[in-house]
């Protein structure tokens, strides 16, 4: 079983902690002038997203989590699972609701996503930073109002609801930042 020694700890390292795959966010060496050294790490549980602190006696080893990020193309949702495909090997993979999480609000067919695999299975899905989605519902547009003053909610083709300027109408394609869930602009083309 592969493992990392505490002296190899650095942010981004993936470890198995209490049976769950985790990622190190911060590693602090706690070493008094005289006495035992410890590594105090801040970790994110990749299954639950929770951030916790853990301490290890320096020199100990912790099991490696077989976690890697891959770029996959989103194909479709069959009602239960979200299907992705590797763009070169055409290998297909299905992710469940837990893995997809909030990303389902931004997944558009054909878009490339970052899928985190644990032991070869999808653990988490990250949508692209920016997606282009069509407005399926919003209050009638106020022509001529381009001041960007107020705003109104608009429902997009994926079901996501974002605040948009008053001049946006149903059927328009919008660029949205998935990290903030905010409207950026009308899509260029």
């Amino acid at each position: 079983m592969a493992s990392y020694n505490t002296n190899e700890f650095r942010s981004g390292l993936k470890l198995m902690i209490d049976g769950d795959p985790c990622s190190i966010l911060d590693n602090e060496v706690v070493k008094p002038g005289k006495g035992q050294a410890f590594n105090r790490v801040k970790i994110r549980n990749l299954k639950t997203g929770r951030v916790v602190e853990r301490t290890y006696k320096s020199g100990e080893s912790v099991e490696v989590a077989d976690v890697m990020d891959t770029e996959l193309q989103y194909l479709y949702n069959d009602g239960e699972q979200w299907h992705f495909m590797h763009p070169e090997t055409f290998e297909q993979m299905a992710a469940d609701k837990t893995a997809v999480g909030d990303a389902n609000l931004w997944l558009k067919e054909q878009d490339m996503c970052t899928v985190t695999l644990w032991n070869g299975n999808p653990l988490a899905v990250m949508p692209p930073n920016f997606v282009v989605l069509t407005v399926t519902d919003t209050d009638p547009g106020l022509k001529g109002d381009t001041s960007g003053g107020g705003g109104k909610p608009a429902t997009l083709e994926t079901g996501a609801v974002v605040q948009v300027p008053l001049f946006i109408a149903i059927g328009e394609a919008l660029k949205v930042d998935t990290r903030t869930g905010k409207y950026v602009s009308r899509a260029k083309d």
């Binding site: 060496v29 070493k31 002038g33």
Partner: protein, 337 residues
């Protein structure tokens, strides 16, 4: 973006180091403490199981066979005590020291120590001088409130509600679990490891940080003294309120250790026994044992009553400049050296 070949410290902080070293030299000059210079490379080193020395070899000219081990010093303590035993009187030194494996936000494997010894003093007199030197160095840069002088026992009682000298091992383990630090150490480890764990995680972050009545948080110099006798290192032990303690102190500012001092042990037999115990721990931990420094042990026999302290200059500069990372105060930290 700073390139790898460039300095990681700003020129303001490079200048702050120069100014600070000049003030330190003038402080000791005014107090008739002699600046000395002792070897960085020597045939012996400290056997403390939690300090690891860099090792190297001497290679005579025209000879390709490597010879004996030499060590880079982790502190100039041993040769400085040999000077004191030779009659130097009070001395100080500013030197580069080296410690294996110590790298991180507050550590660089090569760092600068200010170390000084006061002949005829005990640790209480020296703590006063440490406080006055640090005050004069820090006050122009940070808002310091009155210093704290508390015992190791008081610090544990205040923060964790138990006496570290007398608590039973099962109660100590309970407290460790309660602090969310279960499973960090094996239960059969020495009680000092558990005290060290609680100290570094629960107590140390609050030392040298003062919560004022009006809600303000201010920095201060915290001098913590009278450690457990089992953590004496090179300090004398003595009875304090009926409890055998080490006459050792540490200095903290903003929850960070700045230095460590001793009322120096001058019993050569006791010192040898402690070194033997250190090597025994090393053997148990599966790390290399260290040859006895016989020159040092002979000098301890003749060491006058004195107290000594070592202050980490980079840590001090971090406090003065409110730097988050030691690399901010080093021209070229380990990764760029």
């Amino acid at each position: 973006m700073i390139k790898h070949w460039q300095a990681s410290a700003s020129f303001d902080l490079i200048k702050l180091r120069a100014d600070t070293l000049r003030k330190i030299r003038s402080f000791f000059d005014n107090n008739n403490v002699l600046e000395v210079d002792t070897p960085t490379l020597s045939c012996a080193t400290v056997p403390d199981p939690f300090i690891e020395s860099f090792r190297t070899q001497y290679l005579p000219l025209t000879q390709t066979m490597q010879t004996d081990n030499y060590y880079l010093h982790t502190s100039p303590e041993f040769p400085m005590k040999r000077l004191l035993a030779s009659g130097s009187g009070s001395i100080y030194q500013i030197s580069k020291v080296f410690r294996q494996g110590e790298s991180g936000r507050k550590h660089n494997p090569e760092f600068t120590l200010l170390e000084w010894y006061r002949e005829g003093w005990d640790h209480h007199q020296l703590m006063e001088e440490v406080s006055s030197l640090l005050n004069s160095l820090l006050i122009p840069y940070i808002d310091l409130t009155e210093a704290d002088l508390i015992t190791y026992e008081e610090a544990f009682k205040k923060k964790l509600g138990f006496n570290p000298h007398t608590i039973s091992k099962p109660d100590l383990l309970d407290c460790v679990n309660h602090a969310g630090l279960a499973n960090v150490l094996n239960h059969d480890e020495h009680r000092d490891r558990f005290l060290e764990l609680l100290f570094s995680h629960v107590i140390e972050p609050s030392l040298g940080v003062k919560n004022e009545d009006n809600g303000d948080i201010r920095s201060n110099i915290c001098l913590l003294y009278n450690y457990p006798a089992s953590q004496a290192s090179l300090a004398k032990t003595a009875l304090y309120q009926g409890q055998l303690v080490a006459e050792r102190f540490e200095v903290f500012i903003n929850g960070m250790e700045i230095g460590n001092g001793f009322h120096e042990l001058n019993d050569a037999r006791e010192q040898r026994n402690r070194f033997i115990a250190d090597n025994r721990s090393r053997k148990q931990m599966g790390i290399k044992q260290i040859p006895m420094d016989e020159n040092f042990l002979e000098a301890v026999e003749n060491l006058p009553k004195c107290a000594g302290v070592a202050i980490g200059i980079e840590r001090l500069l971090m406090v003065m400049s409110q730097s988050e990372h030691i690399n901010d105060v080093l021209a070229f930290p380990f990764e760029r050296a």
